[in-house]
């Protein structure tokens, strides 16, 4: 074990816990310093040989908090970098808890990525779920509260599946706790492998477990959604590359995802929900890449995750800026905002062109690796063509529909929206500017990204800028634009107010049915039993206790030292600390868990 190795999650957790203690004058500097320090810690690992750090013995296993190799580092670099950009974006947010929740969320992702074994993976997996939900709840609307609970419900179920799979796996003779490729071990199709896979693909938002994403992410705070868009799904992509690379079913699931996201995004009215559906679509490429499992495909999945975190963060920053400045994100209630928000338009457009894989933008150099990997194998041509079909929908929505109907098109803004509209504060524009610069930089200087990829030789041999690829991309994108503008003239694609039912319908309706069951028949039975109990049990009991109380207070306690009375008074005060809100209890639990993890990593490892 190398004692000099510092876990970047530790930096973020320490920062999150110290943040409320920092004086206001130093707060902004501290907000920038902590994620930059974590980013610096990750960058310091680049160029080092693969190694295991932070190992501790637990029962008869060796837990590894720091498995550092190229696969982990490519994800860690962009995630810690995105933590810096995301924090800068929300720098003016004064509520410490929002920043703390974001950092603990990032620490969960980094912890899962550096986890060398299944138990540590599960530990940080849950840290992610329980911290990220606060980024939804902090929006503090009735809908965000409900969406947060649904988000938590799905992620707890997914986490339990992961844990169940780990337990089943570890119960088998010869099983090791190391998190390695289950396909290679031959257990991907066994109950243990399937349970672990389900736990992971819930976080990757793979259908039929995808509805939590477009339900929760658009309900997050304007800056919280920027974090949400970057970490959970990409950590799951990492886990698929690490644990299930080469599993054929992932190709099917990935292709279905890529088209499913597009299908919903095309008919979506809310800007941030549209972006959320395109997370599903883009993660579909990565899942397919993990499923294809060749070196080029794994490189593609990693490169696309890297690029995606940047451009999707940029798109959510653009959507967040519209929300923050106007209070509105429905395209049916927006339009013509370029006059008020020109820079937000330009920067969001760069995100839209990047996700659309336009030449000279980051998506072009990453997405093409995955489609190229599919076209390398004649039996996967179908996957390559479907992924390219999905890319048409991507450009249609992100590069054309959103820019046109939010910033141009007919002005459907209310007077309030029009009055409030304007480019956001400097820190939000700066964060968007950095992300936009990196989107273009990676599209041109793609070698910087390729050098970070797990299979360096294959990455160095791959060149995205060749005539067939450029020609193919430009034709697809330009003629998609042609079709869009022709359809705009027919007014058939105008966004309309409304929502689209996804398969969260089932658990939403089940929840309503359960609430009815609990509030009507079960409550009636409970009330009847309670009334009987009150008349026959509580009332006589209360009379008895009053008599005993008087005897105790004035008879015994009064004679001795009044200790019982003081304990009672202290209890009354402590009672005020309990709000009864589940969120508050969860916050305390997560904070205590964070302290325990930090202490465990620091003192034991």
């Amino acid at each position: 074990m190398n004692n000099l190795w510092i876990h970047p999650s530790l930096v973020l957790i320490a920062g999150a816990l110290l943040l409320p203690l920092i004086p206001k004058a130093l707060k902004k500097a501290f907000l920038l310093f902590v994620p930059l320090a974590a980013f610096g810690v990750v960058l310091s690992m680049l160029g080092q040989d693969s190694a295991l750090h932070g190992q501790i013995n637990f029962l008869h296993w060796t837990l590894t908090f720091g498995r550092v190799d190229k696969l982990a580092l490519v994800f860690a670099v962009i995630m810690s970098g995105m933590a810096c950009v995301g924090t800068l974006y929300g720098l003016h947010v004064e509520e410490d808890a929002q920043h703390s929740a974001s950092w603990i969320y990032v620490s969960g992702s980094l912890g899962a990525i550096f986890a060398g074994d299944l138990l540590v993976l599960f530990l940080f997996w849950e840290v992610m779920a329980f911290s990220s939900v606060f980024l939804v709840w902090f929006r503090r609307t009735p809908e965000s509260t409900r969406a947060g609970f649904r988000y938590l419900l799905v992620h707890v179920a997914g986490g339990l599946s992961l844990l169940a799979g780990i337990i089943v796996w570890l119960a088998q003779p010869g099983a090791t706790i190391e998190f390695s490729n289950f396909v290679k071990l031959g257990v991907a199709g066994t109950p243990a492998g399937v349970l672990i896979l389900v736990g992971i693909i819930v976080n990757a938002a793979v259908p039929p477990f995808q509805a939590w994403l477009p339900d929760a992410y658009p309900n997050g705070t304007f800056n919280g959604s920027v974090f949400l868009s970057a970490f959970t799904t990409k950590t799951a992509v990492y886990a698929l590359c690490r644990g299930f690379a080469g599993m054929d079913v992932l190709i099917w699931l990935g292709v279905i995802m890529s088209l499913y996201g597009v299908l919903y995004a095309v008919i979506e009215n809310d800007v941030r929900r549209l972006f959320a559906y395109h997370i599903i679509s883009q993660v579909g490429y990565m899942v397919a890449g993990a499923g294809i499992g060749t070196e080029l495909a794994i490189n593609g999945a990693c490169a696309h995750a890297f690029a995606h975190i940047l451009y999707k963060g940029l798109l959510f920053m653009g959507g967040g800026a519209v929300l923050h400045m106007t209070g509105e994100t429905r395209m049916s209630h927006l339009g013509g905002l370029y006059k008020k928000m020109p820079w937000t338009f330009l920067l969001t457009l760069i995100g839209g062109l990047s996700i659309s894989a336009f030449p000279l933008f980051s998506g072009f150099v990453s997405k093409s690796m995955i489609t190229a990997a599919a076209f390398q194998n004649p039996s996967l041509y179908w996957a390559g063509f479907f992924l390219l079909l999905a890319s048409i929908g991507t450009f249609y929505c992100n590069g054309l529909k959103v820019p046109y109907f939010v910033w141009f098109g007919s002005d459907k803004c209310s007077d309030e929206v029009r009055d409030r509209a304007g480019d956001p504060p400097w820190n939000m524009l700066a964060a968007m500017g950095i992300a936009a610069f990196l989107c273009i930089f990676l599209g041109i200087a793609y070698g910087v990204l390729y050098r970070l990829l797990p299979f360096g030789e294959v990455a160095a041999a791959y060149h995205p800028y060749n005539a067939p690829h450029i020609s193919e991309s430009l034709q697809i994108l330009c003629f998609t634009a042609c079709a869009f503008f022709l359809m705009v003239r027919t007014h058939k694609i105008e966004p309309h107010a409304g929502i689209n039912i996804d398969n969260d319908w089932f658990y939403r309706r089940a929840g309503v049915a359960f609430q009815w069951l609990a509030s009507k028949p079960i409550q009636a039975i409970d009330t009847a039993i309670g009334e009987v109990y009150r008349v026959l049990g509580i009332i006589p009991l209360m009379w008895t206790t009053k008599v005993v109380d008087v005897f105790d207070r004035y008879g015994i306690d009064g004679v001795v030292d009044g200790l019982a009375e003081r304990v009672r008074a202290t209890g009354q005060r402590l009672r005020l600390a309990q709000s009864g809100a589940v969120q508050a209890n969860l916050a305390i639990t997560v904070a205590v868990a964070a302290v325990v993890i930090a202490a465990l990593v620091y003192f034991v490892a």
Partner: protein, 155 residues
């Protein structure tokens, strides 16, 4: 000129912008047809020619041998080797490694990965018709009962 000024100028000259876009689109298609007709990057039935070799064994050697010019950009081999043994049951890419080499060898005029890339205006039609199909299918799906009022869940 400010950003807003540039946008306003483009809007004022929208017809000119549209004509310029059409000209560029025409040139794009013509350039692609020229690329195909002149034989640059012509696709060969590579799949049939190349032997199936596990990428894990083949790719690094092919890449290392044929692309020494890029050796300085490549990561140390031990990283990839350890990852190969650690994470993956990496599948064979039937002509992947060698095809990647062909891309390198031909540089900008690389061979097409797929025969469709050498059919004139194939991607033009793919983009245009694909967009129409996606919109029609999505809208139809929405009308099938998926698109509902905002207060559908009563929240």
């Amino acid at each position: 000129m400010s950003l807003l000024g540039i946008i306003e100028t483009l809007r004022r000259n929208l017809k000119g912008v549209i004509v310029a876009c059409w000209v560029l689109l025409g040139l794009l298609v013509l350039a692609d047809v020229a690329r195909i007709v002149t034989g640059f990057g012509h696709h060969e039935a590579a799949a049939a020619e190349h032997t199936v070799a596990p990428a894990a064994e083949h790719a690094p050697h092919a890449a290392a041998a044929e692309h020494t010019a890029h050796a300085e950009h490549a990561a140390p081999a031990e990283h990839s080797d350890s990852l190969k043994s650690e994470i993956s049951d990496l599948k064979s890419a039937p002509h992947g490694a060698e095809h990647a080499a062909e891309h390198e060898a031909h540089g900008f005029w690389a061979k097409a990965y797929h025969i469709a890339e050498n059919v004139p205006v194939f991607w033009t039609l793919f983009g245009f018709l694909g967009c129409v199909v996606i919109v029609v299918v999505s809208k139809s799906y929405g009308h099938f009962g998926v698109s509902v009022k905002e207060d559908y869940y009563g929240e």
